[in-house]
Amino acid sequence: MADPKTFKFNTKTLHSGHQPDKNYGSRAVPIYQTTSYLFQDTDHAAALFNLEEGGHIYSRISNPTVAVLEERVAALEGGSAAIATASGMSAMMLSLLTICSAGDHIVASSQLYGGSFNLLRLTLPRFGIETTFVKPRDLEGFKNAIRPNTKCIFGELIGNPGIEIMNLPEVSKIAKKAGIPVIIDGTFNTPYLCNLFDLGADIIVHSLTKWMAGHGTSMGGCIVEKGDFDWKQGSKFPTMTEPYEGYHGLSFAEEFGPAAFTMRARAEGMRDFGPSMSPTNAFNILIGIETLSLRMDRHISNTAIMVEYLSSNENVTWVNHPSLPDHPDHAVAKKLMPNGQGSMIAFGIKGGREAGQAFINAMKLTSHLANVGDAKSLVIHPASTTHSQMDKKSLELAGLTDDMIRFSVGLEDMEDIINDFDNGFRASQKPRLVASR
């Protein structure tokens, strides 16, 4: 029998979620730069407020331009629903606060973006939500950390900045046995490199600011719900199953089934916390997503060039990328992401912290800034910047060393980046040569 003719990945990056405008025929997604939407009459207004019908009320809750982006990301991930947020951090916060309340507990990978780590380590405990951190390779550790009040496992498939790979299928088995969802930050892999739902994730969060948007222009985040997690098992997830006074006794799991999580996150979280994405940012991110496949292919091929260059460079003490056979997670990374294991490289520079700073200060073409996943190549010294708010113990737990340079491989001709790096390495070794005289 012929295969289904539903859209394939590249077509989805260009079309999903958008019906061309009927009034003016605009082919591009219009930017609906409006705060609010006219009601047809009082009956219509009441129906919208009571979730009796779909539509837009106020752009803090939803917006037509943002909704196209949400549906596009849901389609690319194969999820039932998605909700866009102002940033990746707000996506993470919203995902956790949709199911966690004071007294609840989270099990998280210790290899996380510094902001995520601090949210879990410092901020959520102020609201009564505790986290136990487990090294991403420690499967037994994940199992042992789960308590009766644990509401989810949180992690990154490609850890930041240590580039450890979480064995998601195995972690997912542990979570399923415990009856809790797995929430995975898919920023570094994007839906192009792997489908996290197929690997066992229940909820995906993204910083769309990075590879999805791809050009370093616009902040944005997104939560995507797979739709098959059984919130009704036991009484562990009251925000999903119990009648919600805020909507006349609505049970999100009962009424919205596969989209229960997203509906609760929007109806409560966007209403009360308000981390909404601007329609202009949604437009910019949509433009970025149109070329996701093309860009990711180039990111991956450029990464291979740079891994080879760094691996044979006498000024580099170590190179960390999952494509390297000596990476501890090489086999699992190849299995989970056969088309490329991301475009983040970490490496150690001969001469440690001072050499690293000299290298970064000498960069002319490669940008020194606090972002990843730009079309342009980026470098940073995590220990003194993105992860600087972590104490020594936390830095060790995250696998961070003083000599580490984090490199986000861009789309330039790598010959030019190599010239830039050659200059940087020359500069990095000068202080040491002077010191040895």
Partner: protein, 266 residues
């Protein structure tokens, strides 16, 4: 909510409202491999505007205990048993796809219990593609993928869900996949074998609304019109932008048609 029907737990939702015996009741019956969730953009309106709404999970679907029923006739009888269990003597009936066949048979067997009838994306019979039927009986996920292709019109395929952020195909995929443990195949088989549609349609005397999707590839427009023509006292409406999932693809338009129909005939 749950109630025992024929000794098995039957699940239905009332949108969180208590059943009020002084109010008119509407039952909503889903299509093959689906559940009550498909009705959320219709049921919540009526539940808050003077009706009892009972959106069921047929046996073996969603949260209703199995096994799934093997014939449309058994499903019609089950609906009558459910109403008895809830002490509801008369109801309006809204069905989608397979739920229309159940509605026809319910109207034929239990005419005294029926008030108004709405058949959405329905037909007099539903002969299944043999290969699709076999895939579903084999619990092969390709049956779900093919269904997601065929049930959605151009609007559902590209997207533009009435509820911001929801994906037509993603939602449908999850709903049907959850019932692809044999239930979908049994549903398809029940549809394929049903032969009493024309006789049942001819027997209906109550006001009936037939909603047809212009781009419906499962129950094409012409079979929807044929169904409407067999029912006395019926009206038909063709929705321009809809495929087979009018209740979701054109949810507001479908709800507004229901509102108008119930207002005119109540």
């Amino acid at each position: 909510m749950k109630v025992k029907v024929n000794g098995k737990e039957a699940y239905f939702t009332t949108s969180g409202r208590e059943i009020d015996q002084s109010q008119p009741t509407i039952v909503f019956v889903h299509g093959s491999g689906l559940t009550h969730v498909t009705w959320v953009l219709q049921t919540r309106y009526f539940a808050f505007h003077g009706f009892n709404t009972i959106a069921v999970d047929l046996p073996g679907h969603g949260d209703s205990e199995g096994p799934p029923l093997k014939t449309i006739e058994e499903m019609a009888d089950w609906m009558a048993s459910l109403l008895n269990a809830l002490e509801i003597n008369k109801t309006s009936y809204v069905g989608h796809s397979q739920g229309c066949l159940v509605g026809l048979e319910f109207a034929y067997r239990y005419a005294d219990k029926l008030d108004l009838l709405v058949l959405i994306n329905g037909s007099l019979s539903m002969k299944m593609n043999p290969e699709l039927l076999q895939l579903a009986l084999d619990k092969n996920h390709k049956a779900v993928d093919l269904m997601m292709d065929w049930v959605h019109g151009p609007l559902g395929q590209v997207g533009g869900h009435p509820v911001p952020g929801l994906s037509h195909i993603g939602m449908g995929n999850q709903l049907v996949s959850a019932n692809n443990h044999g239930t979908l195949g049994i549903d398809f088989s029940a549809c394929d074998q049903y032969e009493n549609g024309e006789r049942a349609a001819l027997s209906i005397t109550r006001p009936t609304l037939c909603i047809i999707g212009k781009h419906d590839r499962m129950t094409p427009k012409k079979v929807g019109i044929e169904l409407a023509k067999k029912i006395n006292n019926s009206q038909q409406v063709i929705i321009e932008d809809s495929g087979h999932m009018s209740i979701l693809e054109t949810a507001s338009e479908t709800k507004n048609l229901l509102k108008k129909f119930f207002k005119e005939n109540s």
